[in-house]
Amino acid sequence: MILYLVRRLGSLLVLLVVMTAVVYGIFYAIPADPAILVCGKGCDGAQLAVVHHKLGLDQPITAQYWHFLEGLVVGRDYSSGPDVTHCAAPCLGYSFQTDLPVLSLIAQRLPVSLSLTAGALVLWTVTGVSLGLVSALREKRLTDRLITVFVLGGLGTPVFVSGLLLLMVFCGWLQWLDFPVYVPLTEDPAGWARNLILPWLTLTILQSAIFTRLTRTGMLETLSEDHIRTFRAYGLPERRVIGRHALRGALTPLISINAVEFGVVLVNAMLTETLFGLPGIGQLIVQSSNNVDLPVVAGLTLTAGLAVVLANTAADLLYATVDRRVVLA
């Protein structure tokens, strides 16, 4: 177990280094010069050279990349003229655009993205599992067919279409809700929830369709297994057979699905944020990509990659604890 953990964390480290290297490589290869963006219009050659030096762009790519890694592990100093700023580890550098530390930019946006995904996660797990359960228990009947139609529709509808349709119905025609504006949870919990209803629903439609489908197949598969037949033969009440034994077998895979789907959720959350204009991580990456804000993009891809890999590792471990048949290799 410990050996497995060490090996997993080792490959995780290699992976992150490769990822940053790829991001740096891509950005270095492009013709656009970030210094021109920072310097603004009417910037002459001398000024540009100063900016170049300040951003460290006059150094070779390998040195820049090395400093980036150094900053991550032990922190680094930025010197611009006489004053020296120290950026403590894990240092992701400073935005070319706003001069703010990348880490604080991400931290600023994180509550928005977390509010969106965490709320939706609860919704889609609950709806997905219950719909899947009902669907499996009513196999081939009307309810099952209706739910299957919902699954097909939900899977085929990208978030930017379902979100727009929801906006059209609830903000446009029925006028039940205003166009969402993000309100921090700490300021106004009711407003926070009210404004997030539509974004939550948008994410939930797609993700709960995935969960419904998986719960249904998992449940049907488990119900046809021998041990369930044995429980029934012993005369265990049906409710107990399903609630205690079948559900457990059917739901275990969902743990790892949530992790594998994490990347998908991230992307869909990004699209949802853009649609509703929520100031989250998704909006940040779209903006900074368009502005060639290298430190922010590198920092964000690194953070997202780390989150995805950590989620997967955690899920594998959790899976192994819940299901003893899994052998860690």
């Binding site: 492009i30 899977l155 930017f160 446009g172 594998v260 649609l275 990509s289 368009n290 993009v297 997967n312």
Partner: protein
């Protein structure tokens, strides 16, 4: 990552002779009503996309001409008349602020959507089959390394990288080609994993051993003996990638890093529609429903194809 996802289809695809098997698949596909409905709609949509210039000419409109006179300037440029300005001249109405014809723009949007989806598929197949073949055939070390790479490719938030890439590549590079490359480059993991599984099971077959004994080179065995056996399953799986690719393209265009105006794309139309959903719902519905119809039709057909080819579902339970 622990191997959780079982290989789709599994061993045994090329068991019976090709003609008999093909007939069986066709028969099953024909009796699958949703799949056939999906096929019909798919064919109609593809024909519409191919003949877009002709259809637009019949309507008498093009994608770029402004029709300012059809807009209500007092209401911020919303089309006059019911349903976003639907009329005999403009079958699906016109765009707000510009008055460009929506029917023509949606048709040309279909062209972009399908071209990118199929082009991406080619990139995905080339990459996925090559990497899957190498992983399945290349020995333990290659398999371990490539297997990790495949796991990563499957779980990674590709679109994030794609946005960064698309935003920085010079505007002069042909955009649809770039989209194919970028989406394909980040989404080949499923194809590779399936190919690897197929190769691993085919590798142990007697006919492969016979080829090896008769002195065929490893490259020849991989390409001439194993690949043809693996392809049917892989291609069927690939069909399901088409709707996914369409959604990716629309998503990237929605975020503003897809095709550039004045070229029309469904994702781009939807992104402008975010500010018009109250005043002009038709402008949301036209690109939205076009995308939904296409995705649903492609998915139904691809699902049906997979079910028809699935050896597990065969009447005599042959596996």
């Amino acid at each position: 990552m622990t191997e959780l996802v079982t290989e789709v289809g599994g061993p045994g695809a090329p068991a019976s002779g090709p003609p008999a098997r093909a007939r069986q698949v066709l028969r099953r596909l024909r009796s699958d009503r949703p799949a056939m409905a999906g096929l019909v709609v798919t064919v109609v949509l593809i024909l519409a996309a191919v003949f877009a210039p002709l259809l637009a000419a019949i309507e008498g409109q093009d994608t770029t001409t402004f029709h300012i006179q059809l807009l209500d300037s007092a209401r911020g440029g919303v089309p006059r008349g019911a349903l976003g300005g639907v009329s005999a001249d403009h079958w699906l109405g016109v765009e707000p602020t510009t008055g460009r014809d929506l029917f023509a723009r949606a048709l040309y949007g279909a062209r972009i959507s399908f071209t990118v989806a199929f082009g991406t598929l080619v990139v995905q197949l080339l990459l996925g089959v090559a990497i899957g073949l190498a992983a399945g055939f290349g020995g333990r070390v290659a398999d371990a390394a490539l297997g990790r790479l495949i796991d990563l490719a499957i779980s990674f938030p590709q679109l994030m990288f794609a946005i960064a890439l698309l935003a920085i590549v010079p505007q002069s590079f042909p955009r649809p080609v770039l989209l194919m490359l970028v989406i394909g480059l980040f989404n080949w993991g499923g194809t590779a994993r399936l190919t690897r599984g197929q190769v691993l099971s085919l590798k142990t077959r007697d006919y492969v051993a016979a080829a090896r004994l008769s002195g065929a080179s490893p490259a020849r065995i991989a390409l001439r003996e194993i690949l043809p056996g693996a392809l049917p399953q892989v291609l069927t799986y690939a069909a399901i990638l088409l709707p996914t690719n369409m959604v990716s393209e629309a998503g990237l265009s929605f975020l503003g890093v897809g095709v550039h105006p004045p070229t029309s794309s469904w994702g781009q139309m939807l992104s402008t529609a975010t500010t018009w959903f109250r005043a002009d719902p038709m402008y949301v519905l036209v690109p939205g429903l076009s995308l939904l119809t296409a995705v649903l039709a492609f998915t139904l057909f691809a699902d049906g194809l997979r079910a028809a080819l699935d050896p597990k579902a065969s009447p005599r339970g042959r596996r």
